[in-house]
Symmetry: C2
Subunit: 441 residues, 2 copies
């Protein structure tokens, strides 16, 4: 028998820069789930962690306790490697929608649990739900069935996996305690370990539209993810990708599904295609399906050019209750009532198309959520007509803005115009992949 | 019309070291009272303030918002200066019980709102409630009536004064966010301004038994109190007094009332008498009743030797429903069932009688509370028989321990023994008053 742990004393320990023991961390996480540690104590502790951090051992214990708070899926019966990808979130980042079916076509099983839009970055679930009938809430059996048959599944996080993370995440969002590298890392990896992935490629965004804009912090997060993954037995490979301008051309929900379908059909904007193939190649190498990145990229390209990725996508959509005819008939996706073109005020070269500003403007239009309870406007969108490096004449279109609510558009349009900068000379092209970290094999 | 303030954004601003505007601070404090800012957001904000602090303007606005959250008492009809004293809390600190009636006898009006024991320091309300019948919960009219007639009143904080502080204080205690100098200062001064004091003497304790043990932090708190008082129009004089060993000989509830009565009768331990007279002298000078500290001390000594302080005390006890016969008959105060003597293990001089350890041991015995819901054992006590500097033979009594629950005594006795250190040579005598800050007139 041990003495009962006094929660304020544990908070004080972390507040003063102390190191919490395994027993203390488990008591805190278990208490968060049972309610014995009420939200107001947990949020003070979370802020103390934002301040003081968690060391490697604390972070490993913290994450293990979150994993142990719920079920853990096993995929021993699947005839191929189970590899997942996770992005820290970017503007126009619809990679998951085209990546998962392409990887499935190339021989992986991808059990992707995605999130909803919050803040200025989009959410894969909101995008997928613009497909008529598509269900993102799957029970564990349905989740497994889709994964087995389609080779991929794109669904919401099961309430049974890492319930502690579910509780902490809602609290962190309401208390400005999201931006802590150990808390971010443990939130991501607890879910990925619980969902049974055998390897994880992390797309860690850096730049104005990223969750952590500075490269230093992005790199620190990538390193923490890799080290924590190692401690938990989950190989993690981190790709730091640029998010100073939006990825691809479409920002919104239905329009991003459409753009992902374009990629699966062999089209789509080059930056989106390149990043999709690159991340897929990393996944294929991590899953030992490909020898190296070159081989992986070739396999991804084949999955795309053969149309097998598109078929897998249609199959997955159908298995999740969605209307697969959206593949051939984009009109079946919702669209907004009104549109406006934002034009270049002068001739020159687009030097900036700020992803952070455009993401926030898209949220204003209704493409995202400022608060969890907000409703999405599925057709609200910004479609880029000129990206960084494009030469424009005065009056040329920079982007088209699609919206249902003119009042929201009035608020968003000046911000969208302000996101663009036209210069006289072409800027250095923004890098798509800044660097990669973590062992591949 | 202004845009609604988004609480997480305000928390994030403070988390990142930003400065909150007056509008933002008022929205947060008002929201804490209405519940629009729930506890879990407020506790994250409080931890961010522990981390980042509040600058002078923020602190003044924060405190004003707390004052404005409730009523403000006015004492224009009283025929003398209204001066209060407040202590940051020490072990054996029963000064208020004898100081208030002595000051009243010397011509002041003392509207003292006191607190309950929490942690290792005692609470004046718990002490006074050991007097049979004594009521500490007074409505504002009864509070004013007692103050007018007795010249002093010792009661609990009215729920109508600074309700924001009441709410924040309970939260801070549960979330390890008490130890923040701006938060401490605003909590104290919001109540003192709301209770209508025209001047305040702060007894800021320093040493092992103090709330802030280090002299640096004690001094920083004293300076903050003085500056904040100035901004709020409340003159504050800070006396930094030593709390390395307990004040006086009695630690407990009934025993401390008894010791305070001893002081009023002309007896009592010298350190307690000296500090009481000194703090009273400061109050008399602050209230312009005395010319200087020397004059003030003489007036306090006369109030004591004339027996007028004792009479005031008996009057105040009677007006608050208590049995004034405790003054002549200490047996009317509760006492514990059992006692044990802790003895010197060897001959020498008492070099340490650690106030922090003794305070925590007294709490264990039942004299204080580890949690707000704990009940006090009114007779539980430690009576010092030898203080720092006393020469003892092996086997001489160091203190007597009084208790009701032998199981609690078993836990406390080793800690009490460990609080004493016997050395061969006499240590430097511990200072009673370390320094004073703030203008007197």
């Amino acid at each position: 028998m041990t003495a009962p742990l006094h929660t304020p004393a544990l908070i004080a320990k972390k507040r003063d820069g102390g190191v919490l023991s395994d027993v203390e961390i488990r008591a805190l996480i278990d208490g968060a789930v049972t309610g014995e540690v009420p939200d107001y104590q947990m949020s003070a502790l979370l802020m103390a962690i934002v301040w003081r951090g968690l060391d490697t051992r604390e972070l490993t214990t913290w994450t293990r306790a979150m994993i142990d708070s719920g079920e853990r899926l096993r995929w021993d019966d699947l005839p191929g490697p189970v590899i997942d990808k996770h992005s820290t979130g970017g503007v126009g980042d619809k990679v998951s929608v085209c990546l998962a079916p392409l990887c499935a076509a190339a021989g992986l099983f991808v059990p992707m649990m995605a999130g909803r839009a919050l803040g200025h970055t989009g959410g894969t679930l909101d995008k997928l739900e613009t497909i008529p009938g598509f269900r993102t809430a799957l029970d564990p059996r349905a989740f497994g069935r889709v994964l087995k048959r389609a080779g991929f599944v794109l669904a919401g996080q099961s309430a049974r996996l890492a319930p502690a993370d579910r509780r902490l995440y809602a609290l962190r969002d309401a208390t400005a305690t999201v931006e802590s590298i150990p808390l971010i890392a443990s939130s991501i990896l607890s879910k990925k370990v619980a969902e049974g992935a055998a390897g994880l490629v992390m797309d860690v965004k850096t730049g104005s539209g990223a969750f952590l804009p500075s490269l230093d912090r992005t790199r620190a997060l990538a390193r923490t993810l890799i080290a924590l993954g190692r401690a938990l037995g989950l190989p993690v490979r981190a790709v730091l990708s640029g998010m100073d301008q939006p990825l691809g051309n479409a920002i919104g929900n239905a329009v991003e599904v459409q753009e992902a379908i374009d990629v699966l059909k062999g089209g789509g904007p080059p930056d989106l295609v390149d990043l999709t193939l690159r991340l897929g190649a990393e996944m294929l190498v991590l899953g030992a399906v490909a020898r190296d990145l070159r081989d992986g990229t070739a396999r991804m390209a084949r999955a795309r050019s053969s149309g097998e990725g598109l078929q897998r996508f249609a199959l997955g959509v159908r298995l999740q209750g969605g209307d697969p005819r959206v593949v051939d008939d984009p009109k079946r996706l919702p669209s907004a009532r009104h549109s406006r073109v934002v034009r270049a005020p002068r001739a020159g070269v687009v030097a900036r198309a700020d992803a952070g500003l455009l993401g926030r403007a898209a949220t204003l239009l209704g493409a995202g959520r400022a608060r969890q309870e907000d409703r999405i406007s599925p057709g609200a969108a910004i479609l880029m007509r000129a990206k960084v490096g494009a030469r424009v004449a005065a009056g040329d279109a920079l982007c088209t803005v699609h919206f249902d609510d003119p009042a929201r558009a009035r608020a968003a349009l000046p911000q969208i115009a302000a996101a663009f900068r036209i210069a006289s000379r072409a800027p250095a092209p923004p890098p798509l992949v800044v660097e990669t970290l973590g062992r591949l094999r």
